[in-house]
Symmetry: C2
């Protein structure tokens, strides 16, 4: 690594994503990067966590076509306003001009909801809980950044339909729980805010944003949950017959996440040596590096292979690095790639019946060879240390204030709830509103702008 | 099912893919269907087989961008000739016309190979073995058919680079083995033919096609393996430094498959009752249907739950159908969806300590409750019966002839090897050439057209 994280976070990030073999940014279309095998495997491990959560909560996985006809896309007025300027248009096939233009989904509401209106007939079809993991496309005009702002996005989106607002609200709470389980496994601390009306998702009734704090003290939105009420079901005519025979519009919700989750992991846990991966998603959880002295090669090699075998039996994803390189060079490579635990085995360790474990955060200890089953505990302690460190950073950088004051990180200021005061806070602080803390935090002060009674805190921060 | 398979195979196929809940064809773009949860789960199980084979053979999974700049696509002249008329073009983003048109990958050679030229520097980087599972797009002008001819294709593609032709040839043989393992798990019999020059892949040096025989006696190509030699590495400048310091062009191969594999499974194994799934890919491998009589509900339910639990412990994907429907209606549903084994449990079975197993192909037997571990064997016998039946059908419909004669199925005719004779055979038989049998079959006859010494058999068939 040429750049130090502590000296220039954004430059360090741009370098480390390639150095750690996550992606290659040399593809000749701006904002469209290549997922290298190591990065793709991590992303697939992340996907498997959310797939597990979806399965537990009865969501079914679907796959809808990528291309959306213009006429479908234009059915919901706010939605087209929000996304119209950033969609890619397919206009031709071969030499032929298409009768109707098709767009590459920036998100899939308009593709799914037309079909939902065919799938849903009666209250017995509800709730309908679906999700898909797909590539989506947005023509970003801002500076692109690997995993954080790209034009082809690896995207997770859950879409649900319900009998009424109340049932959809229950789904929102379930989504909040799912997010909790998901980010816990990744050891990522986060905050949830109810976005202000002027920044909610195009077409939503309200939006919850899930944000993390990056080392640059700017926030990154990594997930969002939307209550649509019947905003989409009306134009798309998603209706059901209730128990009394009456036809009603469904209420809908969505939950979305993207490869930004990986961007957050890289940004939050990396250091000057490279990235650091929580064990749940690490393609290699433990790497064994033999420390070989002349004449002892066989003994060490045999022990390394035995340890590898035992760890794999326990379900630990293990790699034995037998390359013809110095241990120091190997340490360097695996630290760069963020492997949670390194196991060093030399002739003296074999004789003493011990192995040395070095966690990616520097903690080193000797454990008994016979106590190899402690490895899983070591992985989970490592994850906890990652989490604690990031949680401390987050907590220290949330500032709950009574008046406007310039601070780095996340600021919470008493707010009357009126858009003009919120926008003025944004302007004075040169920050973006994240919204109202969720769950809501009691606020008894006065609006920092107009002095009227405050209804909520408004959270603000600089953001990616 | 309204249509009988035996009466109108193609109509039956069109109906069963929707009735069995594999896909929904009502999406308003022609040839782009919706994968429903059941169909998508089957496809993911198919993908997991090929992922396993790729892992065993040291291929690494990547994900390349969908959009290919026009200039990259045009680098290989034959390739653009082959695909130019069927690509979708992105010309605009938002309101803006793009400086360079982008196309939706019909296959990914041109996207990957530009980057391969950056990844490969020396012989130590070779062989490079990669694959990806992605959505590809072809503007098909022929009649579309679910899984068989669609415009958005779920696609598997392996791409490899080698030091020379010989090493690339070894890869071709490895691919043939991989295909063998893959189709064995799916219990699908197939034939391999070396495609004639006039029908090889656009840009290939030669192509092997893997075909299956559908009940309509038309063949369906389900996979293909291509030797590119240096046809792509020259325009894309994929070079490496050999051990003596000389710069050489790589030799390349690809192996491709698509959702057609699922189309083949549906077509070959289905019957008038619905589809039939080989156990390896069945989302539900065993469905338990309680046969309930009044007063015995608890006893039966308890036994069903115990059996489900035991089967799941053994790793059998099991579903207990407790819906408020008659057993007959349940049988109907699960036969339609192709579940390999149905387990019926009634009060008398509980008392006798037995369970009744009905395989999807009709074979019914009673097994001891204490011998539940036989289920796995029953699944594999079911798979074998599927295979044997399809193999018999394939074998009976390959006709090795000396002269041109009209036959249904696959015909093998002595051929001098000249294009004009091959094309005349196609014309006379109203069939397509599949190519020369692979591995090659000795042929001592005379070309059925010109009467000169035959070099090979030429295989012909009607095809999808």
């Amino acid at each position: 690594m040429k750049v130090k994280k502590s000296e220039d976070f954004d430059e360090w990030y741009n370098e480390v994503v390639e150095e750690a073999d996550l992606c290659d940014k040399r593809y000749p279309v701006k904002g469209m990067n290549i997922w290298k095998p190591y990065g793709w495997e991590i992303q697939q491990n992340i996907d498997s966590i959310i797939r597990g959560e979806m399965k537990k909560t009865g969501h079914k996985e679907v796959y809808f076509p990528l291309l959306v006809p213009e006429s479908l896309f234009k059915k919901e007025a706010d939605h087209i306003k929000g996304f119209g300027s950033e969609v890619f248009w397919v206009t031709h096939a071969g030499e032929k001009e298409l009768e109707e233009r098709l767009l590459l989904r920036p998100t899939s509401e308009t593709a799914l909801y037309h079909i939902f209106s065919l799938w849903i007939r009666s209250h017995a079809d509800l709730p309908l809980k679906t999700f898909q993991i797909v590539n989506t496309f947005r023509y970003e005009t801002k500076m692109t950044k690997a995993f954080v702002r790209v034009r082809e996005i690896h995207f997770f989106e859950a879409h649900t339909c319900h009998t009424d607002f109340k049932d959809a609200e229950k789904q929102i709470l379930e989504d909040v729980k799912i997010a909790g389980n998901f980010f816990d496994k990744l050891a990522i601390p986060y905050i949830i805010s109810k976005r202000p009306d002027w920044d909610k998702f195009a077409g939503a009734y309200y939006s919850l944003g899930i944000d993390v704090l990056m080392p640059s003290k700017k926030v990154l939105q990594v997930a969002s949950i939307h209550q649509y009420r019947d905003n989409f079901s009306r134009p798309f005519e998603i209706k059901y017959e209730d128990e009394s025979g009456e036809h009603r519009y469904c209420h809908q919700t969505t939950y979305g996440m993207s490869e930004r989750v990986l961007g957050a992991i890289v940004g939050i846990y990396g250091d000057d040596k490279g990235i650091a991966l929580p064990s749940f998603i690490a393609p290699i959880q433990a790497v064994i590096v033999p420390i070989i002295f002349k004449g002892k090669e066989d003994m060490v090699k045999k022990e390394c292979e035995a340890v590898k075998h035992e760890l794999e039996e326990m379900g630990v994803r293990t790699h034995l690095d037998m390359r013809d390189k110095t241990p120091g060079n190997k340490f360097y490579d695996w630290e760069l790639k963020g492997v949670p635990l390194r196991i060093e085995i030399g002739p003296r360790d074999v004789e003493k019946g011990v192995i040395t474990i070095a966690a990616r955060d520097g903690l080193k200890k000797e454990i008994k060879r016979s106590g190899l089953d402690k490895i899983k505990q070591e992985m989970s302690s490592f994850d906890s240390r990652l989490f604690e460190q990031a949680k401390k950073f987050l907590d220290e950088n949330i500032h709950t204030l009574d008046y406007i004051e310039e601070k780095e990180g996340i600021i919470e200021i008493p707010w009357c709830g009126r858009e003009e005061c919120g926008l003025q806070m944004e302007e004075e602080l040169e920050m973006t509103s994240l919204g109202i803390p969720f769950p809501e935090k009691a606020c008894n002060g006065k609006c920092a702008i107009c002095g009227n009674e405050a209804k909520h805190y408004l959270r603000l921060a600089k953001s990616y």
